[in-house]
């Protein structure tokens, strides 16, 4: 929608994602451009099926088959060194994405009951975040603990020998992880440098680096063998204990009562609100820069909803840099978000700061949406948008909203309206606001 301004954290440009289903191609995203800035809570609003979820899933590259990102760009500006051009993640390998997901960007889901694996305990599932992204740290802490306990033991005692063996194996594993991390960061740095460069040489080098990135695995030497042998495998027990400690600590920090007990539970033994807290714990384990919340409260009781929203707001203040909040609930948007984008049928309709959007909705769809929300002092009948969400296998030509639009013009069925900055930092994609003309102030109504 706009070039990445200062402070952008993630950006999509003309993102097109399609689903190749049995009935035909579902054109789920029709060139979506959004910018999430550093430090803000950004909202994506729209009716169900408008492409909110697909947008964030594309952003994390976890669109499920038969969906595919067909064109566009996704840029991430995770640390200051990327601030220039950003990382184009569609060019990166799947293993690179794996290192980002859950670590720099993480996600919480609509239905906590379904989002948790029924056969794994809370400890397994939350601990997995640490296992996937913080293994080095976990091993080092375990080693420190082992060293500590070994010092208190008599030299030559069998328990001390066991500790020594455990330590040796863990150290081997740790060395493997360190070498792996070094190799990976070297590759990533070089890839970031090559990002902006064109030409055959750069492309070949990029391919080679991506290949190497995909192949890189932490190699643990002797520990890799020991891990496969039943009894010897138990050398990792202190490591499991360390991870468990972190899990319990994390659960406690999220205000979960009796965390040590909850950690050993299975998802079906917990209430919906508690399950959602566990999902949040999984997402927060590695202190992400961006937390994506995909309708985190829509399947919860109202009181629990409020608690979860409070929790996310708290966390936003204390730990996470930015939150991308997806919802169909305009009231929630007003309460939580700084800036908001309204989506309709795979198109971005309007983007503005929350107060601005509620005060001066420009797009007819936004206007309709706001008018359809009941207010406490509502007297007249609630207005609604006539018609239904279009079939995205054969979406309407031009502006996808035009069949339902009260202010439709002849051009609307022909051309897709471009996004225009009609007011300062208030973008709208509608033929009512042609790019050249820029009004001084006020909406059309």
């Amino acid at each position: 929608m706009r070039p990445a301004g200062a402070g952008a954290l993630a950006e999509t440009r003309d993102l097109v994602t399609n689903f190749y289903t049995f009935e035909g191609v579902v054109h789920a995203l029709n060139g979506v451009s959004v910018v999430i800035r550093r430090g803000e809570t950004y909202g994506l609003v729209g009716e169900s099926g408008c492409g909110k979820s697909v947008t964030v899933r594309s952003l994390m590259r976890i669109v499920q088959a038969p969906g595919r990102i067909d064109s566009g760009a996704i840029l991430l500006f995770l640390n200051d060194s990327d601030q220039g051009a950003g990382i184009e993640i569609l060019e990166r390998t799947e293993t690179y994405m794996q290192s980002i997901r859950g670590s720099d960007i993480s996600m919480i889901f609509q239905e906590p009951g379904a989002a948790l694996n029924p056969v794994l305990s809370v400890r397994d599932q939350v601990g997995e975040s640490f296992r996937l992204h913080r293994m080095e740290q976990m091993i080092d802490e375990t080693l420190a603990g082992l060293e500590e306990s070994r010092r208190g033991m008599r030299s030559g005692s069998p328990r001390r020998l066991v500790r020594a063996l455990q330590g040796a194996l863990l150290r081997a594993e740790s060395r493997g992880f360190k070498r792996f991390a070094a190799a990976v960061s070297r590759i990533d740095a070089e890839l970031a440098q090559l990002e902006s460069r064109d030409g055959a040489a750069a492309r070949i080098r990029r391919e080679a680096l991506n290949y190497a990135r995909d192949r890189a695995r932490p190699r643990g030497g002797a520990s890799a063998v020991a891990r496969r042998i039943p009894l010897l495998r138990r050398y990792r027990r202190p490591l499991d204990a360390t991870i468990r400690r972190h899990v319990v600590e994390l659960l406690r920090s999220l205000g979960i009562p009796n965390p040590a007990n909850v950690a050993e539970r299975y998802p079906h033994e917990l209430s919906g609100g508690m399950q959602q807290r566990i999902v949040i714990a999984m997402a927060l384990a590695c202190h992400p820069t961006l937390l994506v919340a995909d309708e985190p409260t829509s399947n919860l009781d109202v009181t629990i909803q409020a608690q979860i929203v409070e929790l996310i707001k708290d966390l936003k203040r204390s730990t996470i840099s930015s939150v991308l909040f997806i919802t169909h609930d305009l009231g929630l948007v007003a309460e939580v978000c700084d800036r908001v984008t309204v989506m309709y049928a795979g198109d971005v309709s309007e983007t503005a700061a929350v107060a601005e959007l509620f005060a001066r909705p420009l797009h007819p769809y936004t206007q309709g949406l706001l008018a359809s929300v009941p207010k406490v002092d509502q007297r007249e009948e609630l207005s609604m948008i006539p018609g239904a969400v279009p079939n995205l296998i054969r979406p309407p030509e031009g502006c996808r909203f035009h069949p339902r639009c009260p202010r439709r013009m002849e051009v609307c069925s022909r051309e897709k309206p471009p996004a225009v900055e009609h007011l300062p930092d208030h973008w709208v994609a509608c033929h009512l606001y042609p790019p050249a003309v820029r009004k001084a102030a006020g909406g059309p109504t």
Binding site: R57, M60, I62, Q64, A65, E94, T95, M97, Q98, S99, I100, R101, G102, S103, S106, M107, F109, E111, A114, A115, L116, N117, P118, V119, L120, S121, E128, S129, L132, H133, Y266, H268, V279, M282, A283, V292
Partner: protein, 344 residues
């Protein structure tokens, strides 16, 4: 609900089912004229026609059915199962002779069946709609449609008849002479295991070699069901929301498939292992007949041909018992794997 009381309740249920099985067996056999049922009550030696009438009277074979049922059941509890003409021995002796042969084959074939089914099913699901998937699917449905007896005959024709390898029967004549000739200690009566315990690798190899073709036969036919179920339940698992959560967490493909999807996908497969076992027993009858292995299945087929009533009644009861026990074990495994199951 504690494990112990669950198991006790299940055992009571087992007894109920077994009583039902015994009733069915008994009802079936009551359809036969008394003369053919005499052997059930005779232990030790053959019945000659001259003795028949006397024996019918002696064992009350023309008395009311409930009385006869009672007598039969109490005989079973005394361990008296009658005389089997196909085994030329009392039924229990026949069982002791034939059972290890079948057990040996099942112990080799069952892991083969389960592994093939699970691995190929997973492969098909993970590579959905690729040539691998189509191939495994077609293999499964063809395996499902092949008559056990025909596949066995084809395997024998190609490998033994044409190439001269993988001969049928349990062991070669020389080996049989050694095994039953003294000097060879039969610890377990499983020839392969005994051969190892006696440190006779030649015998082990001879017996093992002859088990390969029958196991393959059983595996091709019986892994089809597991393969199909594994594929579809794996596909279902892969489509669940928790897979999305795991991906969003940054899990790699291997973790996703092994740690998250397969554990869930295994659950339905565990549930049907009882059915798989029953199918396997059916296939065993045919496979042992074709490959000339004198096990329980072969015995059953011979007994049915020669109207060896005691052997048939015993086999049906035995297989029913095994089925019920296996299902109990399966349920316990299920409860262990799936935390949601309360043993209620």
């Amino acid at each position: 609900m504690s494990l112990v009381s669950y198991v006790i309740r299940r055992l009571l249920f087992m007894v109920l089912v077994l009583v039902g099985v015994s009733l069915i067996v008994f009802t079936m056999m009551m359809l036969l004229p008394p003369g053919q049922r005499v052997a059930i009550y005779v232990n030790g030696d053959r019945v000659t026609p001259q003795m028949m009438d006397r024996l019918i009277a002696k064992y009350g074979l023309d008395e009311p059915a409930p009385l006869q049922y009672w007598r039969w059941v109490s005989n079973i509890f005394r361990g008296e199962f009658g005389y089997s003409i196909t085994a030329s021995a009392p039924v229990w002796d026949g069982f002791v002779r034939f059972f290890p042969v079948s057990l040996e084959l099942v112990l080799l074939a069952a892991p083969l069946i389960i592994l093939t089914g699970i691995l190929l099913g997973t492969l098909g699901a993970v590579r959905k709609d690729t040539p691998t998937d189509h191939f495994t699917r077609i293999m499964a449905i063809v395996g499902f449609s092949l008559p056990t007896f025909w596949l066995g005959l084809l395997l024998l024709m190609v490998f033994y008849g044409f190439a001269g390898i993988f001969p049928p029967s349990q062991m070669s004549n020389e080996v049989r002479n050694v095994v039953f000739g003294g000097g060879f200690h039969q610890y377990t009566r499983l020839v392969t295991l005994d051969a190892i315990l006696n440190w006779r690798w030649d015998i082990f190899w001879d017996a093992f070699y002859r088990m390969i073709l029958p196991s393959v036969n059983l595996a091709i036919i019986n892994s089809a069901l597991i393969m199909r179920l594994m594929r579809s339940s794996m596909l279902e698992s892969l489509g669940q929301d928790y897979m999305m959560t795991a991906r969003a967490k940054g899990a790699d493909r291997r973790t996703l498939i092994r740690h998250h999807a397969r554990r869930n996908a295994m659950l339905p497969v565990i549930t049907i292992s009882g059915i798989t076992f029953a199918d396997l027993m059916g296939s065993m009858v045919i496979t042992e007949t074709i490959f000339d292995r004198k096990g329980i299945g072969w015995w059953m087929a011979q007994a049915a041909l020669q109207l060896d009533v005691p052997a048939i009644m015993f086999d049906v009861l035995f297989l029913g018992t095994v089925y019920v026990v296996i299902n109990l074990i399966v349920d316990l495994i299920y409860a262990w794997v799936d935390p949601r199951v309360r043993l209620a």
